[in-house]
């Protein structure tokens, strides 16, 4: 291979995964590779705005009206499930979500196969929670990126995936059994699909195998688990964070412009819960701090915004987290890692999935506070924030974590290892 290698990124349709890949792709571009993105229909243009060529999976027969109806139904069904504990979410939210993920993998397969033939990449970077057989069968090295919490890769010393537990909790084993039961139907269906596409079955509870080439984990050392069976160094590389480059965000002055800066974002999914965010904004109005709140596409729901609060439908997150004194988020792995990277305390209020795991880990490693997303009163929310503003010990610890992460840039490390896979030393 003498020409610049073409590397096809295929992130799942979530902002965390998509933007994590952007960070790595920016670095690969500087290393002389040609990163391109395979993207889901709704993400058209997102990667092009960062300067990458996009290839689009076809949407099938779904119209925008049908997508709208699906989302209405999703919100109606699941908004209340976000208030359940992780175990109760297994049957109400996790199982149907795995069914839907398996559906998307089956639906995408033929289109993905065609796209890969067209792109003819030298390597594929898959940042997803499920394997697409077209990738494993493409005949080129594929790299797995685990941009969810480290819990996605099981170990005796690691709490079960999506449990929000600590490893020593006796509830771990029953949770894992319940997880296997809840996901069994989707898992059977998925293994049957894999068989048809010539792939071996994956173990119970797993939907994605280890890459035989390279596996990158977005898991800073400060929150990493001490595994009973360490992951082999030749196949697994831990990254300290994959912070992408963004345009600078100049915080606008607010009518009441005093106090620490708090950034609040629950991701695009969390932004759907406008009632909860309105309730939080009402608490913010009485706290001597400045709040920048990402309300996603729902700006029009809000009126009478308090003088110390600024709402936006999108923030260049790395830029504003860097300026923040506190980051209130849903425990998305990208958000949690960005908070650590910039040494900012986290108030984690998880909705679902690995948000529970990161919330628990933030509390366990004293990188923040874990709080139920809706079961709080005004005083409790206010007290948690005040504690995070003033906890000097935590600030010092986070400053050290930040310094370490910045000295070992995850994007550079990821790009370097990917290039080594594609251009092994002779």
């Amino acid at each position: 291979m003498t020409e610049a290698p073409v590397i096809a990124f295929f992130p799942e349709a979530s902002f965390g995964s998509a933007l994590n890949c952007v960070g790595i792709a920016q670095q690969l571009q500087r290393s002389g590779a040609v990163p391109v993105f395979i993207c889901h229909p709704g993400f058209t243009g997102v990667f092009a705005e960062y300067g990458f060529k996009e290839y689009h999976l076809t949407q099938g027969a779904a119209t925008s009206q049908q997508t709208e109806e699906t989302w209405q139904s999703f919100v109606t069904t699941h908004l209340e499930h976000f208030d359940l504990d992780p175990k109760a979410q297994l049957t109400t939210y996790v199982a149907p979500t795995w069914e839907a993920i398996v559906d998307t993998a089956i639906q995408a397969e033929d289109g993905l196969q065609r796209l890969l033939k067209r792109i003819q990449p030298d390597g594929i970077v898959l940042d997803n929670v499920i394997m697409f057989p077209a990738i494993a069968n493409a005949g080129v090295p594929w790299i797995r990126v685990v941009s969810c919490a480290e819990t996605e890769l099981p170990d005796v010393n690691v709490p079960p995936y999506l449990s929000g537990l600590t490893a020593s909790d006796p509830a771990c084993a029953p949770f894992h059994e319940e997880y296997l039961r809840a996901t069994a139907a989707a898992h059977r269906r998925y293994n049957s699909f894999r068989k048809k596409r010539g792939l071996p079955a994956v173990e119970d509870g797993l939907f994605l195998e280890t890459s035989p080439y390279l596996n990158l984990l977005l898991s800073p050392s400060a929150v990493r688990y001490d595994r009973a069976n360490p992951l082999p160094d030749d196949l697994f590389v831990f990254l300290e964070g994959c912070v992408r480059e963004e345009a600078r965000f100049d915080t606008p002055p607010l009518p009441v412009n005093d106090g620490p800066l708090v950034y609040v974002s629950f991701g695009s999914l969390g932004a759907i819960d406008t009632d909860l965010i309105s309730r939080m904004i009402s608490v913010f109005s009485a706290i001597p701090a400045r709040f920048f709140v990402n309300v996603g596409g729902f700006l029009e729901y809000y009126t009478k915004v308090p003088d110390n609060v600024y709402l936006g439908s999108w923030f260049p997150q790395p830029s504003i987290v860097e300026q923040a004194d506190l980051f209130i988020h849903h425990g998305g792995n990208n958000s949690f890692c960005e908070a650590l990277y910039f040494g900012v305390p986290s108030l984690v209020m998880p909705y679902c999935w690995d948000g529970h795991d990161n919330a628990a880990r933030a509390a366990e490693t004293a990188a923040g506070i874990h709080m139920n997303r809706s079961k709080w009163d005004d005083a409790e929310l206010s007290t948690a924030m005040t504690k995070l503003f003033s906890d000097q010990e935590m600030h010092a610890r986070l400053a050290a974590i930040s310094s370490r992460m910045k000295s070992d840039l995850g994007t550079e490390k990821a790009a370097d290892h990917i290039m080594r896979v594609l251009r092994p030393a002779s």
């Binding site: 709208e68 695009s268 999914l269």
Partner: protein, 310 residues
Amino acid sequence: MPRTRSNTRRNHLLLARQIIEVALEKGMSAGDHLPEKVFSEACGVSRTPIRSALKILEEKEIVTRREEEGFFLVVGPEQGLAEQPSRIGEVEDSLAARILSDRAERRIGDVQSVSAFVRRYSAPRSAVLNALKILTSEGVVAQLPGRTWAFQPMLDTPNAIGESLDFRLMLEPQAILAPGFSMDSQKVGLVRQKMQDFLDRPNGRMSSAGFLKLDCDFHAFIAESSGNRFVRGALLAHQRLRQTTQKDMALPEYRLRQSLEEHLDILDSLERMQLDLAADQMVLHLRRSQIRRPKAANRGIMPLGRGALR
């Protein structure tokens, strides 16, 4: 007649700033005479408004009046004359700016009474009325019967920005294609230079707010060069509204650079008088700007486009 009074006052404030700029250009110093005739010619207005503007400068102690002799400069360049224009009218302007910013940030409702403004800003009624008149001239508020004021649509939400782009896509290519398109050659150079300076910034030094200003200036320049007076008027008013109320310009740096390069390409075509090509390039540029991030995304479900789930 509050409307007339406030508009006149505003014009005089603008003229007062202009007088300072002319004095600076002419290299005047403290103690120099300010002949009304000279300034009336330089500013292209009669001597009456010049006299009113000089009186404002007298109130601010920037000039002094001597009986039978006229006005004389008190503050020269050495005493900070160049900084004075920003001081003039800052009370009126800053209140208008605060109202505008509060509205764009959804702090105040669609319809407001003057009393509510007086209470919110602890400002005299006259200052509130002046600020509202300024905002009226920007097309941001309109007076309703009685003492209430209604805010006009702004570019304050992703849906509004989407509609703004649709509107511009209809008109901006036509602004170029309408007979009589003509650019001020000196101004082309200035617009081009500003964009080039921004492009020359290193990575990480481009701000979205800085880009928005340049973007509005460029599109307003295209509008004012149009040969169709109605297209020109509608687009200029819209660019003013964008400049004052648009939020959500948080674009990746790559797109900011790409967008500025598209502006420069359009200017290249316009300078070569390839108007058809420039209009097509404008379509491409605006269509690229129309790309919106999905409104919501989650595993196993098709991402939701903007504008849905209202």
